[in-house]
């Protein structure tokens, strides 16, 4: 028996990360509708402006003890979840991390390239490269490819001689130094939780919990984010992975199901 799955197909394709494959999953059968005024138009415009150009949630912040980096692990192609186990926190070297948002291949390749350049710097100058220097190297490379379609929204977090450092670098050529950033389609949601709970003098456990919570709340509301919330800590001795929790399980941990009072119980109708 052939099942009727027309109800499961979306009428309008939702676009995810531009550089990932989309063809084949977005074509949907449609039929002609009578001409009417486009009353959805104004809403669509607003959504398009904020549309998930980089379907992910990543965040990083600096606090008293060092830097905290966290990300989800979902890869989406339009409305299809292609993977729930993508490593979005890239280990550039033992004391520097990069986050991935945008095109997976672009981020992985250019972070690895950055790792190579950092190692060459170490060999040539007999000292580790600073986070400032590493982020500038990456920003200059991305700037030279500006307009050619790279999609990279990354944060470089590390520990160098001046202490913890955090830079946001993107494929438009922007580079910002800051204390906390979040990148991706889920970033507005993460910012809300992060900004509210942030204090400079947190302990490592408190900071890890804040990062985990912010990722969880973003994955709850953003369809393009999900999977596993990974949390890394960058301290004076380099980075260390703190946790990787499935966000579905986190949901029930934060909001456990409580037995609710029964209002009306359905019973079998008495046999007539």
């Amino acid at each position: 028996m052939k099942l009727d799955t027309s109800g499961l197909e979306s009428a309008a394709p939702v676009w995810g990360a531009p550089s990932e494959l989309v063809d084949g999953f977005s074509a949907a059968p449609s039929f002609e509708v009578p001409n009417t005024t486009d009353f959805d138009g104004f809403q669509k415009e607003a959504i398009q402006m904020v549309k998930p150009a980089k379907g992910t949630t990543t965040l990083a912040f600096i606090f008293k003890e060092g830097a905290m980096v966290a990300a989800d692990s979902r890869a989406s192609m339009g409305g299809y979840i292609s993977s729930q186990s993508v490593k979005k926190i890239i280990e550039i070297n033992p004391y520097m991390l990069g986050t991935m948002a945008g095109g997976a291949a672009d981020c992985q390749f250019w972070h690895r390239n950055l790792g190579i350049k950092c190692r060459l710097h170490e060999l040539a100058n007999k000292r580790r490269i600073s986070v400032t220097g590493a982020s500038k190297l990456l920003a200059n490379i991305l700037y030279s490819y500006r307009g050619m379609g790279l999609s990279v929204g990354t944060m470089i977090a590390g520990w160098d001689e001046t202490g913890p450092g955090l830079y946001y670098v993107d494929s438009e050529g922007g580079r910002l130094k800051g204390m906390r950033f979040s990148v991706g389609s889920g970033s507005p949601y993460a910012y809300g939780v992060l900004d509210n709970g942030y204090r400079y003098d947190m302990s490592v456990e408190e900071a890890a919990e804040l990062a985990r919570r912010a990722i969880y709340h973003a994955t709850f509301r953003d369809g393009a984010s999900g999977g596993v919330a990974s949390v890394y800590y960058v301290g004076p001795n380099g980075w260390k992975k703190i946790s990787g929790d499935d966000v579905g399980e986190l949901h029930y941990k934060y909001y456990p199901v409580l037995p609710s009072t029964v209002e009306q119980e359905m019973v079998e109708a008495a046999a007539a």
């Binding site: 606090f63 200059n140 500006r146 910002l176 800051g178």
Partner: protein
């Protein structure tokens, strides 16, 4: 939404820029310094696309420094402005930079000056200028209250009036501004006008 404006006073020039780094609806940072100190007596306030803004102004800064190393004397403000315009013009038909610049400087012989350089390599020497949505409010304010030979107090008062106007009338007004001044003693930061402080310690 970026606001940059400036004016020339008695023996100084002052430039003001907003300090928001914005990406679509997100404010990534609200203490980003967009006024670069070009050399000891020159300031460059830039607004435009994030990559271009930093890369182009740093390129100009390094070339101005190179001239000084090679020739032993610094460039005049007019020369630096013309060099900047030339670079924008050369790139214009190939790979244009999307940056608008107000270049303020002080020369011993000619005093303070302000140059308006826009993204299509227009160059004007002006007494007051502005870029961005904020210009709609600050230009008329400056036209009304400006007179040549203003003191620092009068100029900062006018700057504050413009900032107030931008804050109250521009729909997505940037909350924080930085004011920098250049006079015979050099180019330096004058003040910040912050109405939203970052929760953490403000980083440089």
């Amino acid at each position: 939404m970026e606001c940059v404006f400036g004016l020339v006073g008695n023996d100084f020039a002052v430039v003001v820029a907003d300090t928001s780094a914005v990406h679509s609806i997100l404010v990534h940072k609200s203490n980003e310094d967009k006024i670069m100190i070009l050399d000891s007596h020159k300031l460059i306030a830039a607004s435009g696309e994030p990559g271009d803004r930093v890369q182009f102004t740093e390129y100009i800064q390094k070339n101005v420094a190179l001239y000084q190393f090679r020739n032993g004397i610094p460039l005049t403000t007019a020369a630096a402005a013309n060099f900047t315009r030339g670079e924008l013009a050369t790139a214009l038909r190939k790979n244009p930079y999307s940056v608008n610049i107000l270049l303020a400087g002080y020369d011993k012989e000619t005093g303070p000056s302000l140059y308006y350089i826009d993204y299509i390599a227009t160059l004007h020497k002006v007494d007051k200028g502005a870029f961005g949505y904020g210009s709609y409010f600050s230009l008329s304010m400056m036209d009304r209250h400006y007179h040549s030979g203003m003191t620092v107090e009068e100029a900062i008062d006018l700057v504050d009036k413009c900032i107030m106007e931008i804050r109250s009338r521009l729909v997505v007004a940037p909350p924080n501004f930085v004011i920098k001044i250049v006079d015979k003693d050099g180019a330096r930061e004058y003040a910040w006008r912050e109405s939203v402080k970052d929760a953490a310690v403000a980083s440089a």
